[in-house]
Symmetry: none
């Protein structure tokens, strides 16, 4: 029975692992996950060999980055739900954790490569389920307390967040990227507020619309 991979490593090996993850995190957030492995190794100041020893292929690296991030994201969302006085405040806090959330969304929903990799990864499932459940909770509470419009559902909120929080490719808009994200988030929140809206087309999108029960296995 080996323990957590994170645990039983010699100090230097551990340091390498951490450098690799940090480098990959930064690069993935900026350019998405399809950069040359050598570039990641270089940014981590290790050889490719070392990178491949720690993560046998690109997929496993992506998977690890995703897990870390998902973990953090989920606990932040839980904390928001538990600690904020109103559901609305919780929603605002969740949606404004934009940096962490951005990477989550990159990985969970946007990059086709990451998406393919994470398909059927149990840890990802766990995260997705957990996060959706938390949002679900907040959404219902918000509607109950009268702060959130009632013609929407969890799926709407998740998709809206996913769309808004994708990182705009670096190089363009760099100067105003953060401000733009904040303003868009705020506008979105205004659009979600109870009582303001016109009728929406279709029907509320639920958590199941995003994670259809029994979707599963490709190939």
């Amino acid at each position: 029975m080996t323990a957590d991979p994170e645990t039983r490593l010699r100090a230097d090996a551990r340091r390498n692992r951490d450098q690799i993850l940090a480098a990959a995190r930064a690069i993935f957030a900026d350019h998405g996950p399809d950069v040359p492995m050598e570039e990641i190794a270089r940014a981590a100041a290790v050889g490719v060999g070392t990178l491949y020893r720690r993560f046998p292929d690109r997929e496993s690296l992506i998977r690890e980055i995703a897990r870390e991030n998902f973990d953090r994201m989920l606990s932040q969302a839980r904390a928001a739900a538990d600690e904020e006085p109103t559901a609305w405040a919780a929603l605002v806090r969740i949606l404004r954790h934009s940096h962490e959330l951005q990477l989550s969304i990159q990985l969970a929903m946007l990059s086709p490569m990451a998406h393919a990799v994470l398909q059927n990864d149990p840890k990802t499932e766990e995260f997705r389920t957990g996060l959706l459940r938390t949002i679900d909770e907040v959404v219902r509470a918000g509607q109950a307390e009268g702060s959130l419009r009632t013609d929407i559902d969890t799926g709407d909120v998740a998709i809206l967040a996913a769309m808004l929080l994708r990182r705009v490719p670096k190089g363009r808009f760099t100067a105003i990227a953060d401000l733009a994200t904040d303003r868009c988030t705020a506008i979105m929140l205004d659009g979600l507020r109870a009582g303001v809206g016109t009728a929406l087309p279709g029907r509320p999108l639920t958590a199941d619309d995003i994670e259809p029960p029994g979707r599963t296995t490709p190939r």
Copy 2:
């Protein structure tokens, strides 16, 4: 004096060219512009050689797709601005031309590759300028008529649209993609409505924030 490249082609060549453009349009919209050229050729049911005869490299194909799309997009926006009774209705109509607009946004703002290619392409400039000017017009009119909130500007609208209308990678959400886009657009519009909003952070983003005057230089 040769006419439009589209015009003076033998019937079969013309058909192939159209098939190529159609294939590329579809593939670009779904996966962005960095798919193998062979795949595009296969989708168009021609050999690679034919693809390269029409478009000497990937860039020129991207450029052509972009121009077509930009042309259509711009004239639709102009028509909306000119024909709709209120500025608000014009804005709604523009933002709901989502299919065309989605590809525009992919090409003009999102894909790093497309972005690199279109840098300094005069036709693209023309489009960007024209479209921004049209939105500008609609935004001011909307604020004047009291339908659009006054703490935003053209840049906010453009960025918001860019973020919302990016296509979610196929394979995920396919079933509800269109509905989701429509609902998100509607929620965004509600958030833009005058009188509903809380205070936004920062300052209104203008057209110049997106297209800083005298940007140009690549690399």
Copy 3:
């Protein structure tokens, strides 16, 4: 029994054929025979199709160019041998026909492609034999009359000419190319003059060293 290909052609077809040959001659002399076929067609102001109708592949074009040139070259050499008062004068005249001779040498000895094509082409054989026989004649006469050094033979003269008369690639030396060729030829002739030389290494190279009897079929 069909007549000469040159003979039974409609006027326009004939004109095309001539344009193609002229274009190919010029291009081959400057850049050697491995330029794109399209370029030759363009220079001849015909479509590739026409080029291929006249010359079913690159080889047959090369072959035709070579034959023409060889014919001219051979008759010039014969004329020199027959008309000049001394053997030395004939040799000088032959070696100074540099333009025609340059192309001959490009084709017969230098371009690997042309060389491969002309292997075993009967017309080439005929030319080579004829030219060597003529030089042979002149060489023996020159040695008999005491103008040409006696420790050389026909093969030496042919190889020396081949080396000196290769065209230097265009672009470099363009300005002085012709002068340089003339001066080198003159120096070479001085080196061939009777009585001046130091001992040469090895043995005289004969015509057979160049065209070993019964060499024939490759592959």
Copy 4:
């Protein structure tokens, strides 16, 4: 501070690099520098990838081959100028280093591809200048000592050497190639000897005719 690229390489990498250079040297000398990279790799018994790791593109391989060769060639020429008792002996020795000199000439003067690559390569410049200066020295000394004809100059010698020492394409003349080269060189030297010559056309060609001062700019 890293040492020579040749120095700090793992033993096996070093061996591969040497094999690649040896293979390229041989192939370039015989066929010029535009052979498929795969063929070079095969001849060196490595994969293409390895070839490209060492030399990121064809150009850098050509450059390296050229530098090596130029270095050797230049020091041989200097040694000849310094060590031989007479200028004439030095000239003879220089022009007879034919193998090394052949490759130098292929690269420096003949192959259009190599020529393009070496344009503006400082090391090449250095070589060309150095070699021409050395020949210049020898030429003047030879004319002063009365062994070399006085109606020529450095440019004539360089061009003559360039023309004579081009390798004849393999496959033809293989048997007698070396003998032919030696004999032609000897005849050329006889033609350069003082006192023997008829008047040459034009004017002496100087080093500057070959390397016009301030030529540089490509394209």
